[in-house]
């Protein structure tokens, strides 16, 4: 190894939970560096994160979750980290579960490991029906497209090795990025596996997706999924350094 591990935490207005997230990551493994990518918060999120000892990258304006997460991967790549883990700033990802994500990575079984709420029936998490339908729909669709069983395409709880970091630093989707990112990993022939994890209920705030926006979301993501299958791709970042 030698490169260390970076925990990437994208956060927008998470002043209520960010301190806990940073502390928990540190508690899980004090050797992890924590990077909070502040997506132009209007509250105290970046200051709190910095006070807890996290490195903080502050985006000048709101880029959305995709742009923020990608910034984290760019940081990891530039600073030479061997491994990156990604956790949400709202505290729904329990750092104690990271061990399950890092195992397959350490054994060289995968380039990207995703924590799935549905990979087996641990039933710690029961989303509302509408949301559940959306999740199942995308899981089936992505499984079909990538010819690999995927159960949780909206999970942002991930661990990546250097190949995964390089890919996402160079190319990462925008608005609801996790679904499309799964296809991206497949198209670049990296190995993705899922491990079952438990997630917590959001500790703060509502789910960011309402009814009409979820219909719009389904249509838009479905479209971008099919586009992702036929889009032209630049080579993985390793080779794309000098186009």
């Amino acid at each position: 190894m030698g490169g260390g591990t970076l925990a990437i935490v994208p956060a927008r207005n998470e002043a209520g939970s960010i301190a806990g997230v940073v502390d928990e990551i540190r508690a899980f493994d004090p050797s992890f560096d924590v990077l909070v990518v502040d997506d132009a918060s209007t509250d105290e999120t970046p200051a709190i994160a910095a006070a807890r000892g996290a490195a903080v990258v502050r985006l000048p304006f709101n880029l959305g979750i995709g742009g923020a997460v990608q910034t984290g991967f760019q940081y990891a790549l530039e600073h030479g980290y061997e491994t990156a883990v990604r956790l949400d700033g709202d505290g729904q990802h329990d750092p104690a579960e990271l061990r399950k994500l890092l195992g397959p990575l350490a054994r060289g079984e995968a380039d990207v490991v995703t924590g799935s709420r549905f990979a087996d029936d641990t039933d710690g998490y029961r989303p509302p029906l509408g949301r559940r339908l959306g999740i199942v729909f995308f899981a089936k669709l992505v499984s079909l497209l990538t010819r690999q069983r995927v159960t949780d395409t909206t999970s942002g709880f991930q661990a990546l090795n250097r190949e995964g970091i390089a890919l996402f630093a160079a190319d990462y989707p925008n608005d609801y990025p996790e679904v499309e990112a799964t296809v991206l990993v497949f198209k670049h022939r990296l190995r993705l596996i899922e491990v079952p994890v438990r997630m917590r209920e959001r500790s703060h705030g509502e789910s960011s997706i309402g009814f009409f926006s979820s219909v719009y979301y389904m249509l838009k993501v479905t479209l971008s999924l099919f586009l992702a299958m036929v889009r032209k791709y630049t080579l993985p970042a390793e080779e794309a350094a000098s186009p």
Partner: protein, 168 residues
């Protein structure tokens, strides 16, 4: 046949369009690369308006028998669609570039803050200046050494050579 008045009015409109575009370029309010499509639009519309025989012939090709000026509308609409599509691609590109700029800026700012945090980064630089080290090579090397010794950098794996790997 196309009514003469329509030909005259359409020709004047086309000439006006071309003149306005040229004036915008002259005043540097429109870049040439975005003006080209508009100029092409103006020229094609002018030709179709002024050359009445051509308009009638083209109308014939498309089976427009009653009212040849309809071809003028069709041509104008087509060009507007092309211009709009072109703008959408330009917009998408700007959007991407904007994102990349924001990310680069944020990462650079973070690095600057890290270097300057607690004055340690500055402390590493200042003594060199005060010593007035004139040997450029030696001075530069010392500067880098100082940076390495920086507290936060030491925690980081040595990957600094990879800055800028990701090019556009």
């Amino acid at each position: 046949m196309t009514p003469v008045r329509i030909s005259i009015a359409a020709s004047i409109a086309s000439i006006l369009l071309i003149l306005v575009v040229l004036e915008l370029i002259r005043g540097r309010r429109l870049k040439e690369r975005y003006a080209l499509l508009w100029l092409a639009t103006g020229v094609v519309l002018l030709v179709l308006s002024a050359w009445r025989g051509a308009l009638d012939t083209i109308a014939g090709w498309f089976g427009v028998s009653g009212y040849p000026p309809a071809i003028l509308f069709a041509a104008a609409t087509l060009f507007v669609i092309v211009v709009l599509l072109h703008y959408s691609t330009v917009l998408s590109q700007l959007d991407d570039q904007n994102t990349i700029l924001a990310q680069r800026l944020a990462l650079l700012e973070q690095r600057l803050e890290e270097l300057g945090s607690g004055g340690r980064g500055l402390a590493a630089i200042e003594p060199r200046g005060q010593r007035g080290d004139e040997e450029r090579d030696g001075g530069d090397e010392e500067g880098e050494g100082g940076e390495r010794g920086h507290e936060r950098d030491e925690e980081r794996p040595v990957g600094h050579g990879e800055v800028g790997r990701r090019s556009l």
